[in-house]
């Protein structure tokens, strides 16, 4: 039986090869369907994992609080974010593990070799822990540096390149503005660009106390980063932080919050939700195109049965049984759908690779997904090939023979 089965397929392949126009037309629909399906799945997962990456850059269990300085609410004046807020949060919250304040301003910085304006950030040693940001060389400043207002700095790779070229920056001195010389004690690992296009490595970190003493901090910190003890406590921490901040800012009940709060995890959740909906929609569209491809197979096979009615009659007269006729046409549908689906996998892979390249996403099509899409496309084709095959098998031999 094995021998016969491979022969049936061989004959179907020969029929396909001998009618190239018909074969290509039939394959095209399914190829486009499968290709679109794979492309959509790949775009979806690519976009989603890109969202997850962004989320990880900003820290996984972090809540951000921003002051409303300069954006006064009616009903009261906004107070700056201060060390008092940091202390209040650490003292009164049960869910918050660390609080790291941050102030960032663009300043002119110069080294012995170059000048470069960059984002100078005053913060605390835990900044690199909250942001999960390892050091490339050297180390982060510590609590002692903070206490002593030490004139030290840690820089990002972009700043290192701009100010020192290929030289090792650790141990070198930079000057911020005209009056603050700092010794570089470490370089941060490169994090690359955010989706917004912001260069994460264009940064200088200095102790918050040093910043306050030498550069001044008239409007307080720009941002407080709260690290929660556990990702599951994120929501609780956000609820808990609001009254602590209101108390610390001595806001009356009628006053609105003079700070804003958000977490990358929440934003990522929202982005993921939206991207899931979009992916679902696109996959739905791709599924419809696959269905259309299947209907294409059915149409072409119906035409093929009609065209070859006399041939079917001849085969039948010779002694082919209805099931042998049916198997012949089903085998043709299998060959056409399988080839079409494989072509579609090629198309889908190409599309997803090109887009992943352009968007700098990582490879997103697993072999399993591709095999699944090929199998699905083939089953669609075969399912739609069944009706024409059945019709061929049910032809009356004398009618079929007489058919011109």
């Amino acid at each position: 039986m094995q021998r016969t089965r491979s022969e049936v397929v061989g004959r179907a392949v020969r029929t396909a090869v001998r009618n190239p126009g018909r074969t290509i037309l039939t394959m095209l629909g399914l190829a486009i369907g499968v290709g679109a399906f794979l492309a959509m799945v790949s775009f979806g997962t690519g976009a989603r994992s890109s969202v997850m990456e962004q989320f990880e850059i900003l820290g996984t269990r972090v809540v951000y609080i921003w002051g409303n300085m300069g954006r006064r609410n009616f009903g009261g004046s906004a107070r700056p974010l201060t060390d008092a807020d940091v202390e209040a949060l650490l003292r009164d919250s049960l869910t918050i593990e660390r609080v790291v304040p941050r102030i960032t301003e663009v300043r002119n910085v110069k080294s012995a070799f170059a000048r470069y304006p960059t984002k100078v950030t005053g913060t605390m040693p835990d900044f690199v822990h909250i942001r999960e940001w390892p050091m490339l060389t050297g180390g982060m400043f510590d609590q002692t540096d903070l206490r002593q207002r030490a004139k030290v700095a840690v820089i990002g790779t972009t700043v290192a390149r701009e100010l020192f070229g290929r030289r090792d920056p650790v141990g070198q001195t930079i000057t911020i503005g005209s009056n603050l010389p700092l010794r570089i004690i470490g370089v941060l690992v490169a994090k690359g660009e955010q989706t917004t296009g912001e260069d994460m490595d264009d940064i200088i970190l200095i102790p918050a106390t040093t910043y306050q003493a030498f550069l001044g901090m008239p409007t307080g910190y720009h941002e407080l980063m709260l690290q929660v003890r556990d990702l599951s406590l994120l929501q609780t921490a956000m609820v808990e932080a609001i009254p602590i901040m209101r108390r610390s800012h001595r806001l009356a009940d009628i006053e609105e919050d003079d700070f804003r709060m958000a977490s990358p995890a929440q934003a990522a959740e929202l982005a993921r939700f939206v991207s899931n909906i979009l992916t679902g929609l696109l996959v739905g569209i791709a599924a419809v195109s696959l269905l259309v491809g299947g209907i294409g197979v059915m149409n072409i096979q119906l035409v093929s049965v009609a065209e070859r009615t006399q041939e079917i009659g001849v085969r039948s007269a010779i002694g082919a049984s209805p099931s042998q006729i049916m198997v012949q046409f089903l085998a043709e549908a299998v060959v056409l759908s399988l080839t079409g689906s494989l072509a579609g996998v090629g198309l889908g892979w190409l599309a997803s690779t090109l887009v992943a390249e352009a968007m700098s996403w990582s490879g997103t099509l697993s072999p399993l997904t591709m095999a699944g899409a090929a199998a699905f496309g083939t089953s669609v084709g075969v399912a739609f090939g069944y009706l024409p095959a059945k019709r061929a098998a049910q032809l009356e031999p004398i009618d079929a023979l007489r058919h011109e």
Partner: protein, 233 residues
């Protein structure tokens, strides 16, 4: 002649839906194994319908048809296909070769459906094709052949499965006189070599003259059965 009846049809009637009068009306014929029969009559006389029933392409509305002693008048489509595969060969006026198949592929077709393996199939087919004088045309497509050659391929295909009964519907109808005569000679040769029973539908008296016996149909009835001069016999 062996003297045993390969075809015993009695009271065969065929009525098609939407037709007022039956196409065949109580036809009874008997054909002995090895006979050569000319089935004759004007168009509309029912000779093609009778041939379809004899060839198990169609079943009768009424009557009994014994083929080789077995009742085949009430078979299912699948069973009739089996009978055609093993007992019957067809030759058609317009050849009915499969256009995208080579000569060899056309001739192996009945053997393929009978489930023979490729090697045996091709060996047998090549033998038959050489027998009809087309051993040099194995890989050709029907479109590359002349009419006479096409009919030779069709005859090779019809006999490759070693049928008992060969039905030829106007086998020379599409050919010129000389080619037609050659095809007729080939049919007779096959008859002699393979112990075939041959039923030829024709209205050409010259073809009929080759046959042992002529059966005339008119309006769905047998009107006469003549012993021809059987030039061949």
């Amino acid at each position: 002649m062996s003297g045993f009846s390969i075809v015993e049809a009695s009271g065969i009637s065929k009525v098609f839906p939407n037709m007022t009068s039956p196409v065949l009306d109580g036809v009874s014929i008997e054909i002995e194994s090895g006979e050569i029969i000319a089935l004759m009559g004007p168009s509309g006389s029912g000779k093609s319908t009778l041939m379809n029933i004899l060839g198990c392409l169609d079943g009768p509305t009424a009557g009994t048809y014994l083929l080789g002693g077995r009742d085949v008048s009430t078979l299912t489509a699948r069973e009739r296909a089996w009978v055609r595969l093993h007992y019957i060969g067809f030759v058609f006026q317009s050849f009915h070769l499969i256009g995208d198949h080579t000569v060899l592929e056309n001739v192996t077709l009945p053997l393929y459906y009978a489930g023979l393996d490729r090697h045996e199939r091709e060996a047998r087919a090549v033998e038959v094709i050489e027998r009809v004088g087309l051993g040099h045309r194995l890989g050709h497509r029907p479109a590359q052949l002349s009419g006479g050659e096409k009919q030779r391929v069709a005859i090779a295909r019809a006999v490759s499965g070693q049928p008992r009964l060969l039905l030829a519907d106007e086998p020379t109808g599409a050919l010129d006189t000389r080619t037609g005569a050659e095809v007729m000679e080939l049919l007779l040769e096959m008859h002699d070599a393979r112990a075939l029973t041959l039923v030829i539908v024709t209205h050409d008296p010259e073809i009929a003259a080759y046959c042992h016996r002529q059966i005339f149909l008119r309006d769905g009835k047998v009107v006469s059965e003549g012993r021809g001069h059987a030039a061949h016999a």
